[in-house]
Amino acid sequence: MRVSKRKILSNRLFYPKFYLPLILIILLLVFPLLIRNPFYQDILVMTFLFAALAEAWNLTGGFAGQASLGHTAFFGIGAYTSSILYLNFGFSPWLGMLAGGGLAVLIAVVIGYPCFKLKSHFFVIATISIGEVLRRVTSYWAGLTGGGKGLLIPFKPEIGSFIFRDKTPYIYIALTLMLISILITYIIRKSRLGFYLISLRENQDAAESLGINTSRCKLIAFVISAFFTGIGGTFYAQYLLFIDPTSVFSLSFSIQLVLLSIIGGLGTIIGPIIGSFILTPLDSLLRGWFGGLTGFNFVVYAIILIIAVIYFPQGIMRWLDVGYKLVLKKLPGTKVPSKVSNVSLPINTFKITGLDRDKGSNILEVKGLHKNFKGLVAVKEVSFEVKKGEILGLIGPNGAGKTTIFNLITGFLLPDSGTVKFKGETITGLRPPHKICVKHIGRTFQLVKPFSKMTVLENVMIGAFSQSKKTTEVRERSKRILSFIGLLDHQDSLAANLTIADRKRLELGRALATHPELLLLDETMAGLNPKETEDIIELIRKIHEQGITLFIIEHVMKAIMSLSDRIVVLNYGEKINEGTPAEVSKNKKVIDAYLGEEYRA
């Protein structure tokens, strides 16, 4: 067993995919030994440090899409905490570094959790404000922080006090920080959390509807990011041996991290590192060459940033990625065998198991549900039940409040009054929506919300992760679902490239992956041609055959009349009728309100 493992490992060494990164890392490790000029050594330290910091920023700013301009707060906290502990209590900065990181985490939790509720613009302003407040407090609190004059750490070279005579140890510590930050980012990207972060960045509502606790995911990313930035702060203090409020609490520091990440490639694993490798040396060199022209380096920076954002928003990684793959192909060595077996799965292998197929009892009970929008009554004292195993249709003219009812049930809106019971358990006003999803109520959206920049398979995996943490298991299950909904052939295409009909299928598949007992479908047929409509009706029937109870909003009359066991009719937020399709279509109120003259004859 052990031998074979070792053999696999040694075989792997001959794959370009494995030995090329290894060679690059070894080069990185050797390269600093060749540099003896202090000016260039300094550039190396700063390049590695800012690579690590930008990589940490990228976790929140790139992957989770929460652009913080307050990372300077964590950096400053890290720098000041270890320095104060060292100067006042003789605490080793190595321990102070952890304390600083810890304090940064604490602030990230206190500030982050409420701030994540804010829309992107306000999140930016809130995080800027945090950095500004901390800078002012630090200047003011001179007794502890030395105020505006800053803190000077006496030069006593010792390993324990994190001070070295030569720059080489600093280079290697910074390099280690950078490699760890890459490793952490890599692990996160490949794990469930990574999938979740990207999905919530792409579409928060859809992510919530698939059972993802988006606030928690953002917070985890933010906390890891803050911890790393705090550690970076300590390193910076120990390297320069001097800190003051304007150098460690500055908006331009935060902007720098954004800049490196964007230029390199936002939301990629290596992007921010590449950004720093190019821009940090460029910055230092420009400073050196154009020393007389203070500010010239920033002019170059700013122009690069503007051009990059407008013309190359994906950053350098876009080309680098292509180039890297080309090199991999050209290199000698065994190719990695594709782990994925290409045996196509038999259709209909997907089964929802463990569903109570006992028909007839109420799976969902809605009583007196009421919702006002600033004086406008959207839903007025509506009551109805959904019976286990049935297909219930919900119809009504535009603006009758159908989607509002879905949103009230699934936690996207808070009802003013009334109760919602699912399998006898009160779930009224249970929010945010992911809490509803884990109760096994799924939903789709009227305007489809695919995660456009993820592949079809990944889209379904996001839903399937609610059932398991293991990526391989989730991938397997998702493929079965793709085969069930007829999208297996498209598994590797980006969701953005699907037709409308396929996007609707994908949304059904994504919702199915969360193992729903009750599925709410919001106008699945809207915008489809007759052939596509027929196909999707067939799929809906197939889903129903799995034992899933369906609650459907639909405008396509023919479809809803033939699909539904019963129908609830809404008009101006009020329930005006309920019954079998035949009963409903004969009711005078319904005809007047909705179906129109032609049906009355």
Partner: protein, 289 residues
């Protein structure tokens, strides 16, 4: 009430008038184009330097230089919108923030290269006039600046309420698609809005010149203050921004006296965080009708 308190109120209101004018420009752009313009402060800086050089070379009074500053600012605003923002209208909102950030860094450092980090101010005949009464003293140029700033802010509000163009701009702010369907050229209105917002801050720069210093990073301070004003006033309310300008002015003057001059801005940034967390629609809760 002691004289000190009254003096603090006066100082706060005088500063507040300028803050209101700076912020209303930011708020207008934010409300209509939905872009946080990080270069807003740098537009103020450009207004200040234009005024400074006009005075330095041609002895043109800061208030007279408005005749040049206004069209210049308008042009800068329109070009910014056309060249930098328009290509990004469909991009994620963060890209627009990043691009204005780039513009901000660019302008700051071009100013640094061209005009050095020297603090520059101008001495007009009325620079040192004071109105003294009952132990209180009011600086005449500050009073003048406050009155002009408030006057222009009110004029802008009336323009938006009464004229066709103003109504079109407000229509876009409320419902972009609806406005397009009504035949409003959204791109042109965005450019106009950006121009108008920049004119506000440009004017503020010109009338600040007799009472403040021009230096390359002067804009940052005012830009951050304007963020605070817009948040406290409610991001979609110009009237809110107008009033909040004075509120922030007062907070600054009082916290500077009672707590510490170091913490002046710290206090209102703390307020910004609290407002964002507990009442993101703004402390004043005004609704634009």
């Amino acid at each position: 009430m002691s004289r000190v308190i009254i003096q603090l109120i006066i100082n706060g209101l005088l500063a507040g008038g300028i803050y209101a004018l700076v912020s209303i420009g930011l708020c207008l752009i934010f409300g209509v184009v939905e872009v946080i313009n990080f270069a807003h402060g740098e537009f103020l800086m450009l207004g200040m330097y234009t005024t400074y050089w006009l005075f330095y070379f041609f002895k043109i009074d800061p208030y007279l230089s408005l005749l040049i500053v206004i069209p210049l600012s308008f042009l800068i605003g329109v070009i910014t919108q056309r060249v930098l923002i328009q290509p990004l209208l469909d991009a994620p909102p963060l890209n627009q923030i990043f691009v204005t950030m780039g513009l901000s860094i660019l302008l700051q450092n071009v100013a640094l290269i061209l005009w050095k980090a020297t603090y520059r101010t101008i001495k007009t005949t009325y620079s040192s006039w004071f109105i003294k009464s009952g132990g209180l003293s009011i600086s005449f140029p500050r009073l003048l600046a406050c009155i002009v700033a408030s006057g222009i802010t009110v004029a802008l509000l009336i323009f938006l309420k009464k004229t066709y163009v103003g109504k079109a701009i407000r229509a876009i702010a409320q419902d972009k698609r609806g406005a397009t369907l009504m035949g409003i050229n959204v791109h042109r209105m965005y450019q106009l809005t950006f121009g108008l917002g920049t004119v506000c801050v440009g004017i503020a720069g010109a009338i600040l010149m007799p009472i403040y210093y021009a230096f390359p990073t002067v804009g940052l301070l005012f830009c951050l203050t304007a963020f605070a004003v817009v948040i406290v006033g409610g991001y979609n309310s110009l009237t809110g921004a107008f009033i909040a300008g004075f509120v922030i002015g007062l907070i600054e003057s009082f916290s500077g006296f009672f707590i510490s001059p170091h913490l002046q801005q710290g206090v209102y940034f703390a307020i910004v965080i609290l407002v964002l967390l507990f009442k993101p629609s703004g402390l004043l809760g005004l609704k634009e009708s």
